[in-house]
């Protein structure tokens, strides 16, 4: 890889130890992928997780004096104010999140604490080169917006933010963005949840860049978010195309761009049903809680939940994870209060994958509309069956599966 004079100076330590360390890591990554050069990024998003490795690395870089050239937005951790006010967080967990925040603030991060930065706070445009970690964010930016980012780790995105550069390889190059798997969807898509199920078919679709054909022309933002998010539960996808919908797929020929199609996969209703059956923990007769908002719910989804609850309140807790931007908006419109009256709480700035907040639900019968939430919460013993939002809310109104 050939570095510019400025990049070489950064590597040599002219701009401080922190920038030099970040550049060393990026150079090793670039060399591994046989990148020819480093290119500037205009945006970054870091999958802050407040996990041990995350805090260790943020403190290590900050301790070496690194400050981000491109201030990154960050993923959720857990909302100390909310969980502490409920008496659900011990002092150790409080101190740990505060320590995480200090480490990121020192680096100059923008503390958005949301996994949907492409909806608020950090929205790239078509063709923009960015460094986004958080797999659901990466795939959305590439596929739905047509921005260019590799599937960064928290560390590599942080190094890109610190230096302002990323090695040019993978999804930054035209040829790797073309589709090489044709996925013909014969199933009729009935709603957003079906896109989550389609995303769960990663094993059947196979490794590569899929182009979906046969989907409706108008797909909701939420459906597109679900598809990308769940493709990264069942597999590892940087990008997908949908013919006639996503910007690099006006037609099948353009999406494929002369690349050889290595697979042709047909998806039927049976495949979607089977995906759910294989993935979801079994439903139990009782429902003791509902968790929604993985990825973070947007305002339209709050409205949908409110509409579903018009017929009566939830009798078991319903927690919705969302961004503080959406929660603020819901406060201003009266939506938050209306939901609260129906037994629904909005939790800002928090990821479902935070054991210190949610481990207490282990052993209870939960349901969620997010396969990803179910997948990650299993790691600390919380079992949630996966069903569409309508079913989750209906059962929350009864406390059981009818």
């Amino acid at each position: 890889m050939i570095l510019s004079e400025y990049q070489q100076e950064m590597l040599d330590g002219k701009y401080g130890k922190g920038k030099a360390m970040a550049m060393q890591i990026l150079e090793a990554v670039g060399d591994s992928f046989e990148a020819q050069r480093m290119v500037p990024i205009s945006r970054a998003h870091i999958s802050l997780s407040a996990q041990d490795a995350d805090v260790w690395f943020a403190e290590k870089m900050g301790g070496a004096g690194a400050v981000c050239a491109v201030p990154p937005t960050v993923n959720p951790g857990y909302c100390v104010d909310y969980f502490r006010s409920k008496g659900l967080l011990d002092e150790k967990a409080v101190a740990h999140m505060e320590r995480t925040e200090r480490a990121y603030r020192r680096l100059g991060a923008v503390m958005t604490y949301s996994c949907t930065p492409y909806l608020f706070g950090n929205i790239p445009h078509y063709g923009e080169v960015v460094a986004f970690s958080e797999t659901s964010v990466t795939v959305y930016a590439n596929s739905v917006i047509g921005a260019r980012t590799n599937r960064e780790s928290a560390a590599s995105a942080m190094c890109a933010a610190i230096t302002g550069f990323t090695p040019e390889y993978g999804m930054l190059l035209d040829e790797n963005r073309r589709a090489d798997i044709l996925v013909e969807v014969q199933a009729e898509m009935r709603g957003d949840f079906d896109y989550a199920l389609l995303g769960l078919l990663g094993k059947k679709i196979g490794k590569g860049v899929p182009v979906f054909q046969g989907l409706p022309r108008h797909i909701s933002t939420e459906g597109l978010i679900q598809l990308g998010s769940e493709l990264n539960v069942s597999g590892a996808y940087e990008m997908f195309h949908i013919v006639g919908v996503t910007p690099e797929a006006p037609d099948l020929k353009t999406a494929v761009g002369g690349r050889e199609l290595k697979r042709h996969v047909v998806i039927t209703r049976e495949d979607l049903d089977q995906a759910l059956e294989e993935f979801s923990p079994p439903l139990r007769s009782e429902v003791e809680f509902v968790i929604l908002g993985c990825p973070h719910y947007n305002y339209d989804q709050l409205r949908q939940v409110a509409r579903l609850l018009e017929s009566g309140p939830a009798v078991v807790p319903v927690w919705i994870h969302t961004s503080s931007a959406v929660k603020d908006l819901a406060g201003r419109t009266g939506m938050e209060e209306a939901l609260l009256e129906k037994g629904v709480e909005l939790i800002p700035d928090t990821c479902v994958d935070e054991a210190c907040c949610w481990k207490r639900l282990a052993g209870q019968a939960g349901v969620t509309d997010s396969p990803k939430a179910s997948y990650y919460m299993r790691t600390f013993g919380v079992q949630m069956a996966v069903r569409d939002t309508e079913s989750c809310i209906r059962w929350a109104q009864r406390g059981r599966v009818e």
């Binding site: 060399d31 999958s47 790691t379």
Partner: protein, 137 residues
């Protein structure tokens, strides 16, 4: 006679140890840091420890932060593999190995995969860019 195969380097180190082969992709989040034992249901290495092994596997998987966290905890608790030998690179696995300074190589010559078996003694040298199957007397 030892056999030597060319490889490419991701992360530096000269180490040797016992080969452990996984047919499945690995997410280190699903290991027990105290023992190095793989805990993921349905994984071909479930119940097997990666500690001190030269771990041979197709590549990584999983979300963007948990891979690094799994590697970090294994390393912190002394249960990390000695080196990683992979077929396919992804940014998360590569940057995690670099940041954690865990030796890692890829693109090992095809003959290596025909010969290597679980328990073989393997030496990884990222200066010579070689992976060696060491014949033990």
């Amino acid at each position: 006679m030892s056999q030597v195969f060319r490889c490419k380097r991701v992360s530096s180190g000269i180490v040797e140890g016992e080969a452990l082969i996984s047919q499945d992709a690995i997410l280190f989040y699903y290991t027990d840091p105290a023992t190095g034992v793989v805990t993921e249901d349905g994984h071909c290495l479930k119940g097997v420890s990666v500690k001190d092994k030269i771990l041979i596997f197709p590549g990584g998987k999983g979300s963007s932060s948990v891979q690094a966290d799994g590697m970090y905890r294994l390393d912190r608790d002394g249960s990390a593999p000695r080196a990683l030998i992979v077929e396919e690179l992804d940014t998360v696995l590569v940057s995690s190995a670099v940041v954690m300074e865990m030796p890692m190589v890829y693109h090992v010559e095809a003959g290596f995969y025909d010969r290597v078996k679980n328990g073989d003694w393997v030496r990884v040298d990222t200066e010579k860019l070689t992976v060696e199957l060491v014949e033990k007397d």
